[in-house]
Structure formats: structure tokens, C-alpha cells
Symmetry: D2
Subunit: 371 residues, 4 copies
């Protein structure tokens, strides 16, 4: 054993003898799977997040036609389960992940198609850029999908989709697949081949029970749930809430996040927290001409342009935003938005989702606002 007494004197670290011993030590380490921190610390423990994921933007004008083409070539059915095409961050080759925690995909359902039921531990949502005619059936409850709506499929809820219309429909899917994969928490189970309830009601049962503002069924009260029991957040409400914030700002009242920038978070009425346990979902509206403060956060996020146009700036690089475009903001990326200010496309509406609830629960989230 090395004690102070028999410890070697000053060593010539550069001597061939020492280098030889060191090489031998490292070989012996390798043989039992040991890795010295002193050779890996910088990579393992960076001074600030250095995500492999990169800022990236996909054009809707490119995504949608590709999704549509696949409908002619690939059926939807058991096994493949969904005609969903994941958007892979160029910084994360090999994995079809938007960020290390988030999966984003275009899902496309052709006229009269049906996506079979299944359930999984992953949490999911659908955000509808345009179109209608599909009902997603969540634990037996048919939920209409329409423009601007956010539809939830919390973890371990059975769900399938059916398109009852004569037109195809595409939407944005968001899941926590990468997070669940990275932590080995995936469970999956098949359900019926067709959705179990083919009714096409205007309002889902979850909305009828939970859709009144501040109203909780007494039969369910006093029992917080990890995710929202409300499966649909309708555009009419979201739009009204965003409009109200900007009107209140004009009246000199609080409400907006910052000047010209309204935003609502989709929340779980049983707790007031995020609608999904692992994914934050929000809708943002920028008044025409508004530029947001530059900020960066350790959460990663994915955004979709819902309407209007403008510019996103990530780590100093501008990208023009058009209808339906999807972009990724990796962790700790300097980020700001600018809304177009013209007659044609005044203002900018964006849907956003992020892993912020995960990081908040683990006391890891950091945010900096620059100006």
C-alpha cells in the first residue's frame, strides 16, 4: 500500500519508464472497464451544455409533400402502427430525434384510413397545423382533431386514429421517445386493430367533463393526476387567450410575457402544472414587428409556425419563418424571435414544446435572459 512514507519522490512524468507504466495501467483499466475521470472530465462535465443537437429548421413546404408521397406507397397498419415520419436533428445522426429528449414527427392519415390502437409509457401530443376530419380515440374517448387544436395522449393511454373524411390530414406529433429511451423506461402494448369507438362527436367526453374553466367534477375532485384529464385544447380558446393578453397590454394591464409577446401554457387542471408530465406545451403570439428578448435555457425545444411569418435567430444565425416550418432550439442556444410586420403576414403565431418540466422536477433547469 502506498503510504506517505514509501511514496515515490518527484517523478519524471515524461520519462519513457513512467509513460510505459501509465500505458500499462490504462490497458489494465480497459480490461475491467475502468475509465479515468482525468482523461474524460471535460467531455463528461462541460462548463455549460454543449449539445450535439444543432439549431435546425425544416420547411413545411418540403415536409408535407414527402409525407403525402408516403401515403401512396406505405399502408398504415399493425406493426408499423403509424404513418409518422420523425425529424432527425443533423447533430444526432443515427437517432431520429429532434433533441436528446424530444421526438417530433409529421403524421399523415389518408382519407378513410385508420391507425390501430396501442399504448406506451411515452407521453404524446398532436398539434394540428391545418385540416380536420380525424378523430383520435384516447382510452375509448373519440377526440376530434381540428386546426389549431392540441390533443393529448398521456403515457399508457390507449389511442388510435381514424380519418372519417375524404381528404388526408397531417399534423405534428411530439413525444418524449428519446428521454424514455435514454432512461430505459419504454413499455408498449398493442390494442384493437381499429379504434374502439367510431363515433365522431364534436366534443370529447374529456372536454365535457373537464372543459369548463375552473370547474372540476366532484366525483374526481381532490385527486391530482400526473397528466391532464383534458385531452383537447381547442384553438378557439387558445386564440382568444392570446388575443386577450395583447389587448390587455394595450390597455396597460399585465398579462403578456414581454412587450408584444403573448403566450399560454397548456396545463393540467388537477394541478395547475404542465399538461403532460415530461413535455411542456405552449402557444406563442408575437404582435407584428415584435422582437423578443434574447434568452437561453437549458431546456431544449421544438417550434412550429402556426401562422404569420418572421425570423428566428439561434446562436446569431437568422432563419426566415414560413407557415408550418418546424425548428429546433437545442439546450443553451441563444434564441430570439422576430415577427414580420407587413400587410400580408402581420404577426407570428407559434406552437412550442420542450423538456422543461423534466428539468424543473429535477431542479436542473436554468434560464438566462439577455436584454
Amino acid at each position: 500500500m502506498t503510504t506517505l512514507e514509501n511514496r515515490p519522490g518527484p517523478v519524471d512524468f515524461d520519462s519513457p519508464e513512467h509513460q510505459g507504466k501509465l500505458a500499462e495501467l490504462y490497458r489494465d483499466f480497459d480490461a475491467v472497464g475502468m475509465t479515468p475521470l482525468w482523461r474524460t472530465r471535460e467531455g463528461l462535465m462541460p462548463h455549460h451544455p454543449e449539445p450535439r443537437a444543432v439549431p435546425h429548421l425544416w420547411r413545411w413546404s418540403q415536409l408535407y409533400p414527402l409525407a403525402a408521397r408516403s401515403a401512396d406507397l406505405v399502408p398504415v397498419g399493425r406493426g408499423g402502427e403509424r404513418r409518422a415520419i420523425g425529424l432527425g436533428n443533423p447533430g444526432l445522426p443515427g437517432d431520429p430525434y429532434a433533441t436528446p429528449t424530444l421526438w417530433a414527427a409529421i403524421q399523415y392519415l389518408a382519407p378513410r384510413e385508420n391507425a390501430p390502437e396501442h399504448r406506451h409509457s411515452q407521453s404524446a401530443f398532436r398539434f394540428v397545423l391545418e385540416g380536420e376530419g380525424v378523430w383520435t380515440v384516447v382510452d375509448g374517448d373519440p377526440v376530434a382533431m381540428r386546426r389549431g387544436d392540441l390533443l393529448l395522449t398521456p403515457g399508457w393511454h390507449f389511442h388510435g386514429h381514424q380519418n372519417v373524411s375524404d381528404t388526408p390530414m397531417a399534423w405534428l406529433d411530439g413525444l418524449d421517445i428519446p428521454l424514455v429511451a435514454a432512461t430505459d423506461q419504454g413499455f408498449f402494448e398493442f390494442g384493437p386493430d381499429e379504434v374502439r369507438d367510431k363515433a365522431t362527436p364534436d366534443r370529447s367526453r374529456s372536454e365535457r367533463l373537464w372543459g369548463g374553466p375552473g370547474l372540476t367534477p366532484v366525483s374526481a375532485a381532490g385527486r391530482p393526476r400526473p397528466s391532464s384529464p383534458l385531452m383537447a385544447y381547442r384553438w378557439a380558446h387558445t386564440d382568444a387567450a392570446l388575443a386577450a393578453q395583447l389587448e390587455l397590454e394595450a390597455e396597460g394591464q399585465p398579462g403578456v410575457v414581454e412587450p408584444g409577446h403573448a403566450a399560454v401554457r397548456f396545463t393540467n387542471p388537477t394541478t395547475g402544472g404542465d399538461a403532460l408530465t415530461t413535455i411542456r406545451t405552449e402557444m406563442h403570439r408575437l404582435r407584428g414587428g415584435t422582437r423578443t428578448r434574447r434568452s437561453r435555457t437549458s431546456a431544449s425545444s421544438v417550434w412550429q409556425v402556426f401562422s404569420g411569418g418572421g425570423t428566428v435567430t439561434m446562436d446569431g444565425l437568422d432563419r426566415t419563418l414560413e407557415h408550418g416550418d418546424v425548428f429546433v432550439v437545442p439546450a443553451w442556444t441563444e434564441f430570439s424571435l422576430q415577427a414580420a410586420d407587413g400587410s400580408a403576414t402581420d404577426g407570428l403565431d407559434l406552437f412550442a414544446f420542450s423538456d422543461a418540466p423534466v428539468l424543473e422536477k429535477l431542479s436542473l433547469l436554468r434560464t438566462e435572459v439577455s436584454n
Copy 2:
């Protein structure tokens, strides 16, 4: 000092000598304010709640004309503050309290009258049986009051009322005055003599910010509040939620509290808990002919018939229910409701408030359901 060695032998407790010593001891106790538990235990610690408050019902047909008469004789103004007339439980003489924790009153505002602003640590709400034309201004936010609405004034929020119409308006006020008095927590402060904002908007600012189902302003997200930021719960939403529960029941779906009995709780969207910290507020609807299970709870409550008719049974005694009637259910009173089942007044809608949140937070609430 008494030790085992010198302790007196068997005592003749009935001897005059012993009785004399005992009387002297009790006099000496009295002199320093000491009271033996062995002489008071049964009163202090009953086997189950033995409330002094009694089941009681007031007829709206009697309350309203009395309130109206007071409008001709007594002005509303600084000092008296409100034309509110408290309903005193006959079992609690001296205190104008409905139950040991709850205050219930009829408030009446004549045409064009104004009730000055003040704030207090007590939590308050207004429930509107009928009428409209009054705006209550809560921390500067004018909130319209209309039939079926529940309006909140959480503790320490400034509030005043103005009637901008040509007709009087009366409503039910509920407060936690007795609880706050019993625990010495009363703080009170005068505000302006007239409401600070005389605007009469259709929707209050609180509704514009917080009235979307499951939608939270990002500028306020992640910070739970002790009471609801939503100041108005509108009848249209409440009515729809109750109707939906009964429809879902008819479809074989969950939602109702028990067969034929729908109920919603008014909740705080930032937590999912009760809208007020100390008062539970609920709306109940019984399908025509429905009889609820008999139950009793250690919470005390006050109910008002909103529409329809029926019968309330408290500790075995039936009372007929008519429009606007207010009744009190003391703690641990056996209680059930029966809805009328006729062509004229089918079904029964009731507003209810109770001290249940207080007891839940203190882990004291007990409930028994009989059948």
C-alpha cells in the same frame, strides 16, 4: 411531595372531610384560572361532533322582501360598508353565524347604488340567484354579476360593488367570518369610497387571462396561488358541465357523483384545489326524482336552491325546498336531498359552500356515506 410511601390509604371520597377539601381545591383552582379536565372532559371532547348549530332553512320568499325593505331605510356607505344581512343559526344565538365557521348573508344593492371599497383577510364569494346589473370591482378589475354566476373575493383583495342598472339586485354572500373571528385572524382596511374602475365590461380581466380551460398565461405559470386568480365562474359553463355529467351518465359513462346526481366544484386553476383557501364552493344538480345517498360529514355547509324544487332531509326531518331557499347542514348531520319529479319543477339545482378545505388541510375531515 406525595410519594408512594406517604400516599394516603384508601380514601372515603364521600366523607364530608374529603368533600370539603375538594371544594377548597376547586376554589383554589378557580383563583388561578385552572379547570380540571375530569370535570369538563365530556363537554370538551365529545364522542362525535355535537354542534350547537342546528339544521335550519330560511325561505327566500321571506328573506328577499326584508332585504328590500332595508334599502328604503338604510343607505349603503362607509362604515356600515354593505347592505348585507347575515343569517344567524338559531343554535348560535348572539352570533350572526350560519355555522361555527361560515357566514351567509343576503346582500342588496338598490338601483345606482355603490358599495365602497375595502379589503379584509376574510375570504368571500357572491352567488347570484337572480338578476344582474351589478359589477363587483376586485383589485381594480370590474366583474359583472349575473344569474347563476359565482364571483370570488379572495382574502385581502380590495373590492367594492356598483349597481349601474335601474333595478335592485340581491345575492348570496358567503364568508369565513366566524372561522377568522374564532382564530383572531381578522385584518381590515378601507379603500376608495367609490369603486376605482367604473367600466362595465362583459368579461373581467381575470376571465380574459384565466378563463380558457387548461390555459395558463406563461407570464404567471409555475407559481401556484393560494386562491383562484379567476374571479368569475359563469353560469353558462357551470350549467353545461352539470348537463354533460347527466348526459354522460345516460350514455353509460362516468362523471356523476352518484346516480342522477351531478356536481362540479369551483377550483383554483393554479393548483386544482378549492377556489378559495377556506371555503369549498360547488354546484349540484339532481335529475327529477333522484334521492341522494344519506351521508354525514364533519364539515358544515350552507346551500341555496338555485332552481327546481324538492326536499332536504336533515337528521330525519324533511323540509320542502323552493326557489332561493337557504339551508344549513351542521357538522355530522345526517343529510340527503330529493329532487322533485313533476312537470312543473323537474330536477333540482343547488349551490353549496362549506368549510371542508379547512378541515382537509388540518387532516380533520371525516365523511360517512350510509347507503
Copy 3:
């Protein structure tokens, strides 16, 4: 109905006619139990707490002999249950209550006596000024009572006491009897006539399971309890924690409440909150010569001098403090302590209990520190 059109013109409020109508109205109000707020508002809703309870101090030198005398005259047994003598605040005549929410009593058990088991919804604790030899058996777990210890009996836990020694023992009992009475939440049940487990272990089972700092049995982990599962807080630990705070202060480190003033709160290891749901319990130590800041809080409290001496100042009036003295600080009373600074009785140790957890949970607690 009164409308703006037919409303009476300017009224001569002092006219005999008007006064007559008013008197008639008030008689009619009375008949149905209605009380106008405008005649009672000031009493019901004061500008700040105006407790009927008054600052008061009982000398231990007076209390103890009286309690001892009762042991010769009154047996302990079923029905009376306890030889406990409540301390009644002079401002609350009729009720043997220390404050509107708290009950404080001297309990006295003669040599070899046994107090029968019972349980109640009220929460209780014992604080031991001096002596030993009694075991309190809480839900079957015998807990030794010794000088400086705090022993808990959370609500609805069976408990009885037995004195296995040849000397009497007296201690301070604290309960929430007034709060539970005021809210009609009292439930009570008799248990065995003698304690069910006559063992006299040095450490209770609750301490063996829960008495390791920061150590939770895995079999019970992840399930917060409303009150502490640890039934005894031993003086050796309390003393060491207080001493450490003062030592840390001397080392320039944080820990004390204010200069010269150390304090620990007895907490529930499953939540970090108060040990009892409705009663805060704390031990305070003042270095000799220390004067605390003047403060007032809407909580009411009861204090007992454990050792040392000094002065308490309540609403400007000084009272000397001696060993065992019990004093009451009503809500919103200006309060400070001064520790003696002499060779004989240097410093001041006090046990304190209050209703602060109740008020915190209801968002009613207010505190002001003056200097």
C-alpha cells in the same frame, strides 16, 4: 320592487317616522335570525386582531402544588380520564382555554398510577419540565417521558400513561381542543382501562424506526404522513442542536434566528413540516443578556420556561420569568424576550407551542418584526 323611478327621495333619517320603521325592520329581522352587517361590521371584521385572550403568566410555583394536592383528592380513571388541569386565559371566561385555539394543562400522575387509554381527533403533546418515571403508550408503543423531552400524540392515536416509579410526575400538556371545538371536529373513543403494553423500554419503537437523522425505513418511504411518526424528541438532541447554533454563531456561521437566539422546530420527518398538523412546537434558547427583536404575529402561542430566567414583554408590560412559568401570547400581541445575565441563571431556555401551522395552511398567518 324598489326601482330608481319609485325610490324615495331624500329621507329624514332622524325623523320619528323613519326611526319607527327601522325599529320595526330590525324586529322583523330578529324574528327570522337576520343580523345587519352595518350594525355589527366593526365587531365582526376588526382592523386587526383584537383577541379577547389576554397576555397572562402562571407561576409554576403556584401551579405545581395545586396539581399535587389534587392527587390526594381525586383518582385518575375512566370517565375523567386524566388528572390534567387546564389553564384558562382570564380573557376567555367560561372556557378553560389558553388561547382561542390552544389548550394547555398541567398533568400529574402519582406514583404507580395509570391513566386509561383513549383516542381523539384532537392532537396532543407532552413537554416534560422535570422528572421521569412515566411511560406514555401511543398506539401500543411505550414511550419514556423524561426531562426536556417532547412526546407526541397525534390525532386519533390511542394513548394512556403509566407511572412505574415511586415518585409523582407532572408535565405540560398541549392540545388543539379549542380549535377542534370551535370547528365541531371532536371525535373520541375509549380504549383499554390500562395501558396495553406495560414494558418500559429506554427507546420507543417509533424512535428505533424513525430516530436516525435523515433515515427513513424503506418499508414506509415515499408516503408522507400528516403528523410525525416519531413520537419522542429527546432533550439530549434538542439541547445539542441549540448549543450548536450558538456555537456556530460564535464561529461566524449562520444558524441562529437572530443574535444570541437559537431555536429549533420539532418536525415531521416524512414531510419536513410541523410535527403535529395543528400545533407548532419549538424550543428556544437565549444567550445570557440577549433581548429578542420585538415582533407580533397573528398566531397565538403558549410558552414554558424550561431553565434559566429572564423577562417577557407583552404589549409593553414586563413579567419576570422563573423556572416552569407558563405564559400566553395572544394573537397580534407585541412580544419580546430578555434572558437574564447573571452568574446564577445565565441564559434562558423556553418551550413554545402555537397555532401557526393552522394559519399557514389557510394562508392567514401574518408576522411583523419591529426592530
Copy 4:
């Protein structure tokens, strides 16, 4: 656009034409980073966790000498920061990770050596198998490290180590490096080159303030912290708590996890939850001869044999356990332990850490007990 009307008729999916179109589609997908779910679903969303990490065991008799050799060859200092050697799971080549969320390492400090201060967002602990003489200085508070102790370094607390003795010391380090890396949450900052406080007190300040069972400094009360303010959990307490559970079992009292199996969790006294936000830490003791139930959980864990011997069975494969051995239980691995039952090494004590708190907070944790 594809509509029902113009949709292609039944397709010959195997035709060369169709296969060609498909290949072209997949090339076009690739070009924009799109990946079809139907080709990846099984990998992305398995039916149950299929961790790449494998059950593995390292012999202490192998680890310790390797660590000791490195002390002769590699100095500890700024940059490398620590003489810590991570244990890499053979199923996770390339990453020196024990499981996808946990990092485990042997850290070795030679006599009189000093490891410089730094802080990072990663949470860390040290568990001491044997030896003493090192103080870890956590946010300026010197904490002695001794056999059986668990020492915490919650995220973003500065910390350095100094060995003041004439003998080397080695211990087990556990961190959430992989989780923080996978979610891009790493922040790191250098502190002083030598520990800022070279005092070597027996008890750290954190223990003096927070080490009393159920005792909370009033100056810090009422403010839950995400991780424990108590930096050291001493072996004497842990050992006593484990012994007590087995003794209570022998007395017929509850406490153990299952027959013959005692376990304590290290918890945060301000909340009752896990001591660290992202890592569960526990100590387990098996009575000689005890075999635990077979179970599996979606959490992954790392265990170290503290004393005694026995067998671990993972997915049906037995491994003998000796002093100091470290083994990994991947997610969803069937797992049981058996304690030796001989005169020499009766019973088995193990330290364990896992990612269970992460999964609990995200509502992802699943556990199955087989028999």
C-alpha cells in the same frame, strides 16, 4: 393532393415499380433527416425496457489495486480534478457509465493529497467502504469521511477533498453524469485549488445544524430544499437503524421490507424525499440466510457490498458477493439477493443507489415483485 377519389387502387407492394418508388422516397426522407416510424418503431418503442446495459459485477479485490497503482503514476490536480476511475458497463461501450443514468467510480486520495474545489450541476455522493482521514469540504463546510458514511455533494455545491492522514483512502463515488449528459444539463465551474477550509472537525456544520432527528433550525424552517442540507449520514446511525428493524421484526413488530431484510433510505429532512434530487441512496441489511423476493423495477441501480457475503441473482444468473464488490442492476432485470449463512460472514450489508427519484417524478417508475 391525395383524396379518396384519386387514391390509387390496390397496390402490388412487391412490384419492382413500387419498391423503386419506395427506395426513392426513403432517399428523399434521408436527405431532409426524416425517419419513418414504421421502420424504427420496434427499436424506439419496445414492449418493455431492453437496456443495453448488462448485469455486471466488479471485484473490489481487482478495483482497489488498480486505483492504488494510479496514485503512483498520476497526480491529482486542476484539470483532471479527481483521481476517480469510472466503472463502465460492458453493454455501454464508449461511455464510462454504469447505467444509462448513473456513474459509479472508485476515487483514491493518497496521503496528504488535496483534490481541488469545483462545482457542477451533477449531483454526487461518496460512500465509504473502509478507511478514514479525508475531509470533503462542501460549500466551505469540512465533512469527515469515515467507514460506512454517506456524504453528499448536491448539485452546484462547491467541493474539494483533502487527505490529512498518512494513509491513502478510497471510496465509491456516485453521480448522475449520464443523465445530465443525456439531457444536456451540464454546468461546471472551478473553485480554489485547495480546499477553502482546512479544519478537520469531527462533525460538519451541516450535521450540527441538521443532524438532530426531527429537529429543524427555525431560521431555515418552512422552506423545502430540493436536496438535503445534511451532508453526512453517519454509519453509527445507519447501523443502528438497520439493527433496530431486524430486532423489531424479531419482536413481531413492523419495520423490515420483507422477512429478514432491513433497509433505510437516506432522505432530505426538509421534505422527507430522497436526499439527492436525482439519485436514491439506501442501505440494506439481510439477516444470514435470507433470500429476498425476486423483483424487477424500471429503475437502474448500482450496489456495493459493505460487509458480509452472499449471492446476487440477476436474470437467473448467480454471482458470489464479497467485500467491496460493486454490481449493476439494469432496468427491468429480475433481481434477488441471498445472504450468506455461515459462522464467518453471517448476513449481508449493501449500499445501493438508483435513478428511481427521477422516474418517480416523471411518473415513469414501474416495479414488479414476483414472489
